[in-house]
């Protein structure tokens, strides 16, 4: 898969007021910035810096990260569902890439 694509998994249905887990896997190399100890030359890394979780366009969680997170990050965050809606994640990396991915949930 190409860099920046994501899979977001949520339960299809939930009860009102239930806390669900929003699980996501993002395809990304997450390489750190490295400096050669001999020459001092820097090799720039490529990693995600920010991830936001939205529920019906309302910001729920915001996560800052760097290359300390493993390649192809797996992240699970909690979300309290009140009504049927759209769960959206927006994420960006240090090279200006910005992507988003949505998932839908229905409430019994």
């Amino acid at each position: 898969m190409a860099t920046g694509t994501a899979i977001v998994r949520v339960p299809k249905e939930a009860q009102k007021g239930q806390v669900i887990r929003v699980q996501m896997v993002i395809t990304h190399p997450m390489t750190p910035t490295r400096r050669d100890p001999q020459t001092g030359q820097e090799t720039p890394g490529h990693f995600l810096t920010k991830l936001q979780l939205f529920y019906n366009d309302q910001l729920v969680s915001e996560m800052n990260m760097a290359a300390g997170i493993s390649a192809n990050p797996f992240i699970a965050l909690p979300l309290k569902v009140e009504s049927a809606g759209v769960i959206k994640i927006v994420y960006e990396d240090n090279k200006g890439g910005k992507w988003e991915k949505t998932a839908e949930i229905t409430v019994k």
């Binding site: 806390v19 290359a67 300390g68 797996f74 965050l77 909690p78």
Partner: protein
């Protein structure tokens, strides 16, 4: 200088050389302490460890490139501002910080992190009242994952 004085002086000099490197780390703040101070604005040793935060991580990780960790807290989400994850001996000890809102319903995070070598993983919760609490777990790494 007589022989006795010379021996005494050289003994002191040798002792000084041997102990100097051992004393040094006690004065210089570690990378982790500096990072915590810079990002949280508090001293690391002022943060209290509490049992309400459950940090789950393997005792022995096969690969440092992929260490699964899970943090859960029995503290209501509306009292929590942020969750910070630090790894003591990584080149950059700060791994991530997550902002929570009441809409989360719970304080929970599960992810996979990189670890350069065997060290402590710390989950620090920043509460709304400005205090910090933490949970620590040591993870043994057989093959580092930062290279």
């Amino acid at each position: 200088m007589d022989r006795r004085k010379f021996l005494l002086l050289s003994a002191v000099a040798v002792a000084g050389l041997t102990f100097a490197p051992a004393i040094k780390p006690a004065f210089a703040a570690s990378k982790l302490e500096e990072e915590v101070k810079k990002r949280l604005g508090v001293e690391l040793n002022a943060i209290k460890e509490i049992a309400e935060i459950r940090l789950t991580a393997p005792t022995i990780a096969e690969s440092g490139a992929n260490v699964p960790i899970t943090v859960e807290a029995d503290i209501p989400a509306d009292k929590v501002e942020k969750l910070w994850i630090f790894v003591d001996k990584n080149p950059i000890p700060w791994v991530t910080d997550v902002k929570f809102t009441p809409q989360n319903g719970q304080v929970f995070l599960s992810t996979r992190i990189k670890m350069g070598e065997t060290s402590n993983v710390r989950a620090i919760l920043q509460l709304k009242d400005g205090t910090f609490v933490m949970a620590t777990k040591e993870v043994k790494v057989t093959a580092g994952g930062c290279g």
